[in-house]
């Protein structure tokens, strides 16, 4: 009898100790989990692997959350990444954290495939340091869906050597497009043999912003089909091509290799993205220019000269890539911690410096990035950057604009007024009457 009680007592004690031990073991032992990260193969994935950011992340998670996390990188090449991303989301096998382009982002957010990051960023002190333009572009209906990783703006590049030969002042920062045309005309006079003097557009809509206009009104969610600013854009291009003969229209139709022309000094003035400076003309680029600082001049794209421009002195556009989290993730906290790590100021600065892209947070102008004169100067332009409309119709709007510019302005040589009419008609037809509005032309 007694021995039975004893045995039972011992057994209970053993069980309690075992349970306590197990409890102790499970609570103190780090939890194991996995996060998948989807990004482009090649330099994108390699940057993450070699920059040590994943090790830092794992260490931090172990220390702060007592989680042992494995990060698996899923990749697809640059060519084909978009298709793969969309297919993965549609099939439900995307990564927890994904590298997403803005156009896909709007579509994904609309389907609620993406996690609403608003509660996470509101607790994140660093979010304040991101530039407003970048933040605004990913806030859709009041919800934040992505954290920007980098950006690029438009730069007015010019050849300092040709400017000096033409007796023009260097460095140069035009205040208005008229000034640019004036300078271009002087260059044309001095160098009549140049095949082309100026390339005025990389992103077609830029002059609309230069004149203080917008293409999308966030207050009522409508696109602008007709406005004095759109007319200004057509006029500017028309004048450059036909009135002053500063750009042969074949240049755009045939897609001449503008970066090479610039590198060879056959194109003194061009608008192109931030990345060109290193990607095309840097020592590893296809058209290296020696002594870049002495040869390549850079200026902000000017405004039209209209007073009180809401976008500031040098309105600009920008393009970028972002990190977003899948709504189906099982570890939203950990995924967001990974984004925090990936957009750390020093990592962002390193990525910006290595790939010639702008950082999107104000405290990231550090290290090599800060020593790069061009990048440091260019970062300022983010202040003037106009965010792209956070809606899917933007694609169609831009396609209509490109089509009118190409078919009507370049091929059919129509006047700006005619182009404006055709454009308004086209946009209304493509986007639907409910989605567009017209601002009367005085």
């Amino acid at each position: 009898m007694a021995s039975t009680t004893k045995i039972i007592a011992v057994a209970i004690i053993v069980i309690i100790i075992a349970a306590a031990g197990y409890w102790y073991y499970t609570t103190t032992q780090p939890r194991k989990t996995e996060i998948t990260l989807m990004t482009k193969a090649g330099m994108w994935a390699d940057f993450i692997k070699t920059s040590g950011v994943l090790e830092d992340y794992k260490e931090r998670m172990l220390k702060e959350k007592n989680v042992k996390v494995e990060v698996t990188i899923i990749t697809a090449p640059h060519r084909g990444y978009g298709e793969k991303l969309i297919t993965s989301f549609a099939a439900g096998s995307e990564g927890d954290v994904c590298w997403v382009s803005p156009t896909d982002l709007y579509r994904l957010a609309e389907t609620e495939y993406l996690l609403d990051l608003t509660p996470y960023v509101s607790k994140w002190p660093d979010w304040e340091k991101f530039y407003p333009a970048a933040k605004k572009a990913y806030t859709i209906g009041g919800k934040v869906y992505a954290v920007p990783n980098d950006a690029a703006t438009m730069v007015l590049y010019y050849r300092k050597d040709l400017f000096k030969k033409a007796g023009l002042p260097v460095p140069w920062q035009p205040e208005t497009w008229d000034e640019v045309i004036e300078v271009a005309l002087k260059l044309k006079e001095k160098f009549p043999d140049l095949p082309i003097i100026i390339e005025p557009w990389y992103e077609e809509q830029l002059p609309i912003y230069s004149d203080g206009g917008v293409i999308y009104d966030p207050s009522d969610g409508k696109f602008i089909a007709k406005s004095p600013q759109i007319l200004y854009m057509f006029k500017l291009y028309y004048d450059i091509i036909y009135k002053y003969g500063l750009m042969p229209k074949e240049f755009k139709l045939e897609r001449w290799d503008d970066r090479k022309l610039f590198a060879e000094g056959k194109l003194p003035l061009m608008i192109d993205g931030t990345w060109c400076y290193t990607e095309k003309w840097g020592p590893n680029g296809p058209y290296p220019i020696e002594n870049r600082e002495e040869i390549i001049g850079y200026a902000h794209p000017p405004s039209s000269g209209r007073p009180n421009n809401p976008h500031g002195k040098y309105p600009n556009t920008f393009r970028d890539y972002t990190w977003a989290i899948s709504a189906r993730t099982k570890e939203p906290e950990l995924a967001f911690e990974l984004i925090k790590e990936l957009t750390r100021a020093d990592i962002m600065a390193k990525w910006g410096h290595d790939t010639s892209h702008l950082v999107v947070r104000s405290d990231a102008v550090i290290g090599d990035y800060a020593e790069d004169k061009f990048l440091q100067w260019n970062t300022e332009s983010l202040k003037y950057a106009v965010p792209k409309p956070p809606t899917i119709l933007f694609n169609k709007y831009m396609d209509a604009l490109k089509e009118v510019l190409r078919n009507e302005l370049l091929i059919n040589e129509r006047t700006p007024e005619e182009c404006l009419e055709i454009f308004a008609e086209k946009v209304t037809e493509e986007l639907g009457e409910d989605n567009v509005k017209e601002i009367p032309i005085p």
Binding site: E110, E254, N407
Partner: protein
């Protein structure tokens, strides 16, 4: 009784049954990985589905609406126009040039034929992903090889990437695609048993008669096959058109083949249903043309 009958039937037709069984594994493979996804996409073409966006979740069955939209779509017809030109000219060129190369490789006595064969194969042996680089270096208006050559002969430069872009496309497609005809026809010529010619010679057949009675009947099938497969590949494949176009259609639509249009609809405008409808139209065109060709060739 019944069982016996079946048994007897099996015994009588054993040979035919064994023969039909041989085709099963291949059919199973094709059915699983080609038919099922294709049928799935045909189903998409009757919906307003998108891969992502609102329509990915709240899609609905809309019957033939995509097809009706398609008939009234100006761009579809422009694209059809381009496709017909492209496919017709490509077909002729890919076949003729491939045939010339095949004849050369089987008939010629020129020394170093292995080397020549290697050179002829190069376009299909280098990676497809490199074709854009190779051809941009050829066609760029100012620095491209072609315009440089024209310039050195004092000829005017050509607008390969704009005015003559459809022609450029055909040129690239022929360059990359003639090897198919070459390989197939070279082996067809090689597999003609030479005894046939010896017999014909015994009967004193003329050169033309030999071609008519011996060569042609034996290469008829590969020949028709070649034409069918080239057509199918050209109408299906938009690699080279894509390289002149990119993510969104060119405003002048000169490179917008039907297949590329379907792709742009599905991935750039996110109208998967519409894209699949275009794809199904392509399929029907190929289907009808193939059946007609088989009928006329009496195969």
């Amino acid at each position: 009784m019944k069982i016996l009958k079946i048994k007897a039937w099996i015994r009588d037709n054993l040979d035919q049954i064994v023969l039909s069984l041989l085709i099963v594994p291949a059919l199973a493979l094709i059915f699983t990985f080609q038919f099922i996804p294709a049928a799935w996409t045909i189903w998409f073409s009757f919906t307003d589905m998108a891969l992502i966006g609102k329509k990915a979740l709240n899609w609905s069955f809309i019957g033939f609406k995509n097809y009706l939209d398609l008939i009234t779509d100006v761009y579809f017809w422009r694209s059809m126009n381009v496709t017909i030109q492209y496919c017709a000219v490509s077909l002729v060129l890919r076949f003729t040039i491939g045939m010339l190369a095949a004849l050369f490789m089987t008939l010629s006595k020129v020394k170093g034929k292995i080397f020549i064969a290697a050179v002829f194969l190069l376009p299909s042996a280098i990676p497809g992903i490199m074709h854009p680089y190779v051809w941009i270096s050829m066609l760029e208006p100012n620095y491209g090889t072609l315009n440089t050559i024209l310039g050195s002969f004092g000829l005017p430069r050509q607008s390969w990437t704009y005015g003559a872009v459809t022609e450029s496309l055909i040129m690239i497609n022929t360059w990359a695609g003639y090897t198919f005809t070459m390989i197939l026809m070279a082996s067809a010529f090689k597999s003609i048993p030479r005894e046939y010619y010896e017999v014909a010679e015994v009967y004193g057949a003329s050169r033309w008669q030999k071609f008519r009675k011996v060569t042609f009947p034996l290469i008829k099938f590969p020949l028709i096959l070649c034409l069918i497969l080239i057509f199918k590949e050209d109408i299906d494949d938009f690699t080279y058109a894509y390289m002149f176009t990119g993510e969104s259609p060119r405003p002048d639509f000169k490179t917008e083949l039907l297949s590329l249009y379907a792709y742009h609809k599905a991935f750039h405008y996110y109208e998967l249903g519409f894209g699949c409808a275009v794809g199904f139209i392509i399929a029907i065109i190929v289907f009808v043309l193939t059946l007609l060709q088989l009928k006329f060739a009496r195969l």
